[in-house]
């Protein structure tokens, strides 16, 4: 039997074994990209090289980036201005559609996304939304992690719109609602329209929600609560103002952490249970900290991404 030259390990059986009859029954599954994807990517790369932009930072390289705009948008405009020679590039770029759209926000950033059907999604900090190619007549689906507010258009064909989160699917016709999934718990608030929430693990029967409803689901404790709240307060963050009704310091700390990425350290743990009367408006983080320091009689200092509350 012919031995494979394995260098220093002359008696290594591995390669021989692999040639054994039994191993002929094993194969590797192959995955190939679509050929047009490859040629599209190549054309883009060559265009970048031609434009002398090969040294620019690759768009997706930085994980902490804000929203990712489809690459062809900026380039199509530049190419149109540059003249005749680049027209083929313009045609190429306007035809280019990424297979999957992925938007993610860094901490403290809020971004608005317009979906192919003109529905809008406002993505809160530290959240992500993904969707693939949508075809007319088929259902519209997106995947969400974190928090987003949705304003879903009713389409001509009344295609269902579904938001997938880790534990729930939310089916929508035409409506405005907010989904907040943080720390394992999910809250859904409906502003207008009607939505149906189904549970992927089947632990609960599907729930139909009406405007003003707040649904809170905790998979760990397996609790589901359904109550009525002023929805406008809950979604005020989309206008840059957050209203947390009568929040305890712990709730504020959690909100700061979830959306802004700040870790809050309370030098005096008894502050945690204090409640602030009335809504807190988050127009500006520094203003909030100012108000908090006054109301709680604490000094708040910022170190990198940590906030330390020290009693005065």
């Amino acid at each position: 039997m012919k031995r494979v030259d394995t260098g220093s390990h002359d008696n290594f059986e591995g390669d021989d074994l692999w040639r054994d009859e039994d191993f002929q029954h094993l194969e590797f599954r192959e995955h190939w990209p679509a050929p047009d994807r490859v040629s599209e990517a190549l054309q883009q790369a060559l265009a970048r090289i031609a434009a002398g932009r090969e040294h620019d930072e690759e768009d997706g390289a930085d994980a902490r980036r804000v929203i990712r705009v489809p690459k062809w948008m900026g380039q199509a405009v530049a190419a149109a201005v540059a003249g005749v020679v680049l027209i083929p590039a313009v045609i190429y770029f306007t035809m280019h559609r990424p297979a999957q759209h992925q938007y993610a926000t860094a901490y403290g950033t809020i971004n608005k996304i317009v979906l192919p059907d003109s529905s809008t999604v406002v993505l809160n900090g530290h959240s992500s939304l993904t969707y693939g190619r949508w075809k007319t007549g088929e259902s519209r689906e997106v995947w969400l992690d974190g928090e987003a507010w949705f304003d879903v258009r009713q389409t001509d064909h009344a295609q269902p719109f579904t938001v997938h989160t880790k534990e729930l699917n939310i089916d929508v016709l035409s409506t405005a609602f907010d989904i907040r999934r943080r720390r394992g718990q999910t809250e859904v608030v409906l502003e207008s329209g009607r939505i149906r929430v189904t549970f992927l693990n089947g632990a609960h029967a599907p729930v139909m929600m009406a405007p003003g409803d707040l649904l809170n689901y905790d998979p760990q404790a397996n609790t589901l609560s359904h109550k009525i709240i002023p929805a406008a307060d809950y979604t005020a963050w989309t206008n840059g103002r957050l209203q947390l009704p009568d929040p305890s310091v712990t709730q504020i700390a959690q909100y700061l952490e979830d959306n802004f990425g700040y870790k809050v350290i309370l030098k005096d743990p008894s502050i945690a249970k204090k409640k602030i009367e009335g809504p807190i408006l988050f127009d500006n983080l520094d203003d909030v900290l100012f108000v908090l320091s006054k109301v709680l009689s604490v000094d708040i200092s910022k170190h990198d991404s940590t906030l330390i509350f020290t009693p005065r």
Binding site: F12, F23, L26, R29, L42, G60
Partner: protein, 190 residues
């Protein structure tokens, strides 16, 4: 196997680069796809690595084996990005070890007889992600043990051990039918 023209790529020949581009795009996609099904992220990393190849073209002469270099750089970049992506979605969302060489990519051929299939199936379950990846790189990508070691970031000796162990486990799993094995075990205890 396509012979790529590194000499011409080094001097800035875009045609030679294009050939390498298409060749590696497909190869890296096939490889990276075993770690994740997030196509957008995967393609992003591939494009980044290939653009980087162009940027470094003049320094190619100092890279002894461009082929292994590309695979290593790709693997490193992909895993780093997958971890960044996971941590961005929240510390608890995806565990650190989630990004490893997937299980479903080493398969049993359809024509395999049922009993052997079951034994193979059971044996395959025993393999670690490391073992699967080492086998993929050695027997699918046909890289030498030195090269596989380089890509995985371990010693060549360790690579031999990983592959040998994996194949022996598989062979053992396939070798003895369960009935015979049980009989033997029972006899030992008597």
């Amino acid at each position: 196997m396509t012979k790529l023209d590194w000499e011409h790529i080094k001097t800035g020949d875009q045609e030679a680069y294009s050939e390498a581009y298409v060749f590696y795009y497909r190869k890296l996609y096939n490889y990276g796809r075993k770690f994740t099904d997030n196509e957008a992220l995967l393609e992003d990393v591939i494009q980044e690595v290939l653009m980087d190849l162009w940027r470094r073209r003049e320094r190619l002469s100092s890279i002894e084996f461009p082929h292994t270099y590309i695979l290593t750089a790709f693997r490193y970049t992909l895993l780093r990005r997958l971890k960044q992506h996971a941590s961005m979605l929240g510390p608890a969302s995806i565990p650190e070890t989630a990004y490893e060489f997937g299980a479903e990519y080493l398969l049993i051929k359809k024509e395999t007889e049922e009993r052997l299939k079951q034994r193979l199936e059971a044996a395959l379950q025993q393999l670690t992600a490391r073992q699967r990846e080492a086998i993929f790189l050695r027997f699918y990508e046909n890289l030498s043990y030195d090269e596989v070691a380089g890509i995985l970031g371990i010693s060549t000796k360790a690579t031999y051990k990983i592959v040998a162990r994996a194949l022996q486990q598989l062979k053992q799993g396939m070798g003895l039918p369960m009935a015979t094995l049980l009989l033997l075990l029972r006899n030992i205890n008597c």
